[in-house]
């Protein structure tokens, strides 16, 4: 978690909220560029869009940053007075992931929530990118919830808690939606995250494993062997995300076929 902000109180609160992140306060735009170049794609930058920096208006520096580091999550933390609505719309259109209003939301609790929400949205997009085609509405809702729990590092009990049900109920919902049980679905989603990172050739398997929540390269390799039946080296050559996503889709298709043959009730949700 990289922070570029002139307000020391904001920096301090972001640091307090940064549990689970490696925190670093950067001194200027150049330092931020350099730090992002060395960071994993999971890095988040909290920046003051009006932070001074040559040349001219600093909003231009923010635009440069977003354009150069499109794959990274950049959050613009500032005071957004009512007359600044057009500025906010503009920076969001550039691709800033979220805007943190420091007048209200600069408490550690609120920052944690906002960062969690940004992370959840990225997870949501990644899973639906893997699915490509249309997904029944109930499946969408369940997958979306599961992706968010996985992004936050949760397991099956946390998934049940987030869905307000017990584990058996969640299992039943997933079964009815022709999805794998949590103990298989969650590793699938975690593997999709890992595959996205693995497609970056500059990254070692060890660092991908660590960033995706695995104990080490060994457990990541085991997971690939169990779910995708491909060694990591081969995956990199073919495109890890594309191969993992195809294997995931194929498993979901097989489950849907099984459900159709078994005439499961309530299988007629909208596509």
């Amino acid at each position: 978690l990289l922070v570029l902000h002139g307000n020391s109180a904001v920096r301090e609160r972001v640091r307090e909220a940064a549990a689970g992140y490696e925190f670093r306060s950067v001194k200027d735009w150049q330092d931020l560029h350099t730090s992002l170049q060395r960071s994993p794609l999971t890095a988040v930058a909290v920046v003051d869009p009006w932070h001074p920096g040559p040349p001219g208006a600093s909003l231009e520096r923010l635009r440069e940053l977003v354009q150069r580091f499109r794959a990274f999550t950049i959050v613009a933390a500032a005071r957004y007075a009512p007359e600044r609505g057009d500025v906010l719309r503009e920076i969001l259109a550039w691709g800033v992931a979220d805007a943190l209003d420091i007048d209200r939301e600069s408490t550690p609790a609120a920052i944690t929530r906002r960062l969690g929400s940004v992370q959840a949205r990225s997870a949501h997009r990644l899973v639906f990118r893997a699915l490509e085609g249309s997904v029944p509405s109930r499946t969408q809702a369940l997958l979306s919830g599961t992706a968010e729990v996985v992004a936050a590092g949760g397991q099956a009990p946390e998934l049940a808690e987030a869905m307000g049900a017990d584990e058996r109920t969640v299992l039943r919902w997933l079964h009815r939606a022709a999805l794998p049980p949590p103990r298989r679905l969650m590793p699938w989603i975690r593997l999709l995250f890992a595959s996205e990172l693995l497609d970056d050739p500059a990254r070692s398997v060890e660092s991908v494993a660590r960033l995706s929540g695995y104990a080490g390269a060994g457990s990541l390799k085991v997971s690939y062997r169990n779910l995708v039946s491909e060694p990591v080296r081969g995956l990199r050559a073919k495109g890890a995300f594309a191969v993992t996503a195809a294997a995931f889709r194929s498993e979901l298709r097989a489950l849907r076929e099984q459900a159709r043959e078994g005439h499961q009730p309530e299988a007629n949700w909208l596509h």
């Binding site: 609505g85 509405s137 919830g145 909208l270």
Partner: protein, 396 residues
């Protein structure tokens, strides 16, 4: 932890059947929470509404015991000052003032008050045609009070209106579960009516019939005549569109009785009855009914469709003068629109022209119908149009 889906905390000791599956909170193309508000209100109101919306969602996602230190001390004062500086309508200002308490006293503000204020903003935005904002505030209201069936129903209903079927379906099904748990039979039946409409729109007549029938049954048993009439109206239109005209007439009669004389949706029902008369080859009755209804049909899509139906009824009655006038006025109202909203009107215009063997107009309407988005043209209508065009070619 929740944000993309919406769940309700399980009631301790409750059986599994009371757990309600999650609903969709955002569409996959939504990159930022609440961005539609900024898009729909590109003025100072936009930012105030956006902040209020985000305050509620973050507040609702936080456990009550952790809300005390959620917002910066003194933030409420600044917000009140901003509200005072930006002129806005009283009722929305009042609702936003209530929502300032989410920031000033997050630990003690009552969820019901937050829900009411959000619903107020949602209704206000809907009246202005800002449906994205209306949907978000309706959703914020439901997040604040997840046990309220009615709040969930509003989200599903708005999502249906905005043609977001997946989101609508998950919210409406969720409403069924929540309303059943709270014995809120009105919301329960309303959700079934909208589910019926959703499935009818997607061409699943069997599912639509089942859901409408369930809504009608529940509304009758629980004493909600307005909801029952909406369900009967849905069944009537469904049967008419399926070509089961006798059954449609039975439901139309029941719906007319259930609506009574003063119900605001009665003119819409009468308009559908006129459609039935055209389909039953009683164009004279349809013609007089449509003429009476025309002044109340407003502008745009509704007016164009009524005029097109009027042209068809006149064509079926052999009233050439009335046909000519209605057809030309309807054509002007359609105004070469290619969005798909005028597809039903264009089909009626083509049918009317075919009946009058007015081949140039027939081809004019058919050509524009053929340019509409495929999603707005049901397969059976496309086939009918091909037949009509073949007829026109022979007529030429």
């Amino acid at each position: 932890m929740r944000s993309g889906t919406f769940t309700t905390k399980r009631v301790p000791g409750a059986s599994r059947r009371w757990c309600v599956p999650p609903a969709i909170l955002r569409d996959t193309d939504e990159t930022l929470e609440g961005v539609q508000i900024l898009q729909e209100f590109p003025n100072e109101h936009g930012l105030l509404l956006w902040k209020a919306y985000r305050d509620v969602t973050i507040w609702a996602a936080t456990e009550p015991g952790d809300r005390l230190e959620l917002f910066v001390a003194g933030a409420a004062g600044r917000r009140l000052q901003q509200l005072g500086e930006v002129p806005m309508e009283n009722r929305v200002e009042l609702a936003l003032t209530v929502l300032v308490a989410v920031v000033s006293t997050p630990e003690s503000i009552r969820a019901e008050a937050v829900t009411l204020a959000c619903q107020g903003v949602s209704v206000w935005a809907r009246e202005r045609g800002k449906l994205g904002t209306a949907l978000l505030f309706a959703q914020a209201a439901a997040l604040a009070s997840p046990e309220q069936g009615r709040a969930g129903y509003d989200v599903g209903s708005l999502a249906l209106l905005m043609d977001r079927p997946a989101r609508a379906e998950t919210w409406l099904r969720r409403t069924v579960g929540v309303a059943r748990r709270g014995k809120d039979w009105e919301s329960y039946a309303l959700a079934y009516v909208d589910l019926g409409a959703l499935y009818a729109k997607r061409g699943d007549a069997e599912a639509a019939r089942r859901h409408y029938a369930r809504a009608a049954r529940t509304a009758r048993r629980s004493g909600y005549p307005a909801v029952r009439s909406a369900a009967l109206h849905g069944l009537f239109v469904l049967e008419m569109e399926q070509g089961r005209l006798d059954q449609a007439e039975v439901y139309a009669r029941k719906a007319l009785r259930a609506y009574g004389a003063e119900h605001p949706r009665r003119p819409e029902l009468l308009h559908d009855v006129a459609r039935l008369w055209v389909a039953r080859e009683r164009p004279g009755r349809a013609l007089s009914m449509l003429k009476k209804l025309l002044p109340g049909r407003g502008e745009g899509q509704d007016r164009a469709f009524t005029l097109a139906l009027l042209a068809r009824a006149a064509a079926e009655s052999g009233d050439r003068g009335e046909y000519e006038e209605a057809w030309s006025t309807a054509w002007l109202a359609v105004d070469y629109d290619l969005s798909g909203t005028h597809s039903p009107a264009l089909l009626e215009l083509a049918r009317a022209a075919a009946r009058q063997q007015d081949w140039p107009r027939m081809q004019q309407a058919s050509r524009l119908y053929g340019l509409q988005p495929r999603a707005a043209v049901p397969t059976r209508n496309g086939e009918e149009l091909s037949d009509l065009l073949a007829l026109a070619r022979r007529g030429d």
